[in-house]
Symmetry: C2
Subunit: 351 residues, 2 copies
DNA sequence: CTGTTAGCGCTTTCAT
DNA sequence: ATGAAAGCGCTAACAG
């Protein structure tokens, strides 16, 4: 049989030898069957069967062909979070769609936060990369760039000539912030992490200064937009309370919102950077018996299916479409940046 | 600069040449820095920089090394569905966890339903496969087997000596069915598809006969368990209404349930093969003004987070853990089948 | 239709 | 510490 302990892995050469044909005839049997006689074909197949030959070796093929037919996906510090976050999942679905269309595999790279991450990225058998939202100083980003393979970053920074796909986060934040903070006298923000350390905190705009220290470009841009909105509504940025959540998770946001709402001078409007977090805020308001939007206006971001059910005013964007756009760009010869569409969805959670 | 149009992709040989050292010194610079003098190292790195050399070619390395450090994941007929189904997402998260731990990439293979699927599986640069629930006659399964690489199938059939990971679906269906159908006189089932064609239909147990035609082993086993439960509760299987949904989706299940519940002699108990579908059933009952469990008992499967909120009696299982188990098995030398745990969670949707 | 030659880019011996 | 040879397994390019 095929897999007897002593036998090496079968190769095309051995198959050809056993079949009594040249290696090329054997190769053609697999790659261009039409160029091989029925006879030769049968002999090769029989030999393959006997040796337990499973077909051409993928890595050898890739080497020869010069491409791997796989797209790499880099998901930030914690691989598994990606599957827990609905927005990330939608994004990956978009990538998957394009990959399937083009017959590409989609290789999700293991990111653990350890230094080996960089090596693994360098050694990944992929033709290009899509990088999910990250901070400017993410070593992962540097590693991707160092491969010199086509790479597209989603929601990254505008600097450095990186190719990227993103919406205009500042403008969207300004728009949703205007609605969130309309008629409010104590606006607050629930924010994604400011840096890769992902520390949770409750601060005021004053401490965030010019936002230059905010490592995540998305977060920085959104804060800038909210800031404009708050100032437009009459509250100086320095007075705006900003609660930073370490994770994009309703439970954590609920705790943060509860803390804000039970403090002296509680907010009467909260703009959250995701629907996930906004849903947590709504839960907190409900528990505390606050009327939305009467006592508290709330906005989210993403327009997840759950947002409609909750009557949440939010920023609509299609993560799935953005994922697809990233994938298409990364699979192109010369990827180009692009700006994705968004829209404001006004529902019953705002005044 | 590096990427001038005329220049070929830099190789280690060219770097070595420019650095004035042998190829091996250049190679060691990347792989065993400790065996290279500081001097040589510097020259090599400088040459690499100048040529825009991005490091060793991954496919060439894989070829040499004999392994790809990536695990393949085959997700059934429609790649993108996988990201829409919470159970599938949890399963993938489990795989991702193990891959990250071991420094493996996770390559999701594009499955479109076309014949090329098989070629792509054969050509995937992965060391092993995990196959998500599928039918016995899925060509994809055959393709995976043909690679002779380690493969583990989740929720597959017990035949053919395939390595697989699964819970005891028959026993679990029997258990949840016993609760669902307790005190019911007209039990019904909402089922996953019976075959890869995924045709939706409403039939009775009578037409399903001995279940031998049911292509999906999971579905077959669960039907067998429900059947026992129905008979135990006093209804012959031939009278049990079985609504087959094409997709695992609340909306479709809601329509099916509405059809059943508005027909003459409507069911007074519905066992659904997933929480997703059970949630659709609950919605239908709510719309029709039926009391649960008074007028209608409902059970689901999976114990998704949403099941607890809905008070749904269901079968608890950890898809995440099962994904991890599959991955660990597939990355092992000699994968072995294993049976995963499950438990019955009784809530308020049953009598 | 079949075969020969020449690598794809790298790293494992085994010297020196 | 460095290098020469050999070959991982395959296929494009060109004969015949």
């Amino acid at each position: 049989m095929a897999d007897t302990p002593g036998s090496k892995r079968a190769t095309l050469a051995r198959v050809a030898e056993l079949a009594g044909v040249s290696v090329m005839t054997a190769s053609y049997t697999y790659n261009r069957p039409e160029r091989v006689s029925e006879q030769a074909r049968a002999k090769v197949l029989a030999a393959a069967e006997e040796l337990g030959y499973a077909g051409p070796h993928p890595s050898a093929r890739s080497l020869r062909r010069g491409s791997t037919l796989a797209l790499g996906v880099v998901l930030g510090e914690h691989l598994t979070y990606a599957f827990d976050d609905p927005a990330a999942v939608a994004f990956m679905a978009g990538i998957a769609e394009v990959c399937a269309e083009r017959g590409f595999g989609m290789t999700i790279l293991p990111i653990t936060g350890e230094p080996e991450d960089a090596e693994r990225i360098a050694d990944a058998a992929v033709d290009g990369f899509v990088v999910w939202t990250t901070a400017d100083d993410d070593p992962t980003l540097a590693a991707v760039l160092a491969t010199r393979r086509p790479a597209v970053i989603h929601n990254g920074s505008r600097v450095r000539g990186l190719v990227q796909v993103s919406i205009d986060n500042r403008a969207a934040a300004r728009a949703v912030g205007d609605v969130a903070f309309a008629g409010a006298s104590r606006p607050a923000v629930i924010s994604h992490p400011l840096s890769r350390e992902r520390v949770a905190s409750i601060t005021r705009g004053a401490e965030l200064g010019e936002l230059g220290d905010v490592g995540f470009p998305v977060t920085r841009d959104r804060l800038a937009g909210y800031r404009e909105a708050a100032e437009e509504a009459g509250t100086p940025w320095s007075d705006v309370v900003v609660a930073v959540c370490a994770r994009n998770d309703p439970a954590e946001a609920e705790r943060a919102a509860t803390a804000l709402l039970t403090s002296p001078g509680p907010p009467d409007a909260i703009a959250a950077m995701s629907d996930q977090m906004a849903l947590g805020v709504l839960r907190a308001a409900d528990t505390l018996g606050l009327a939305v939007p009467g006592d508290l206006a709330v906005t989210g971001w993403d327009d997840l299916p759950a947002a409609a059910g909750a009557g949440l005013t939010t920023v609509h964007q299609s993560m799935r479409e953005q994922g697809a756009t990233c994938a298409r760009a990364a699979l192109g010869r010369r990827p180009r940046s692009s700006t994705a569409p968004w829209s404001l969805v006004t529902r019953s959670s705002t005044r």
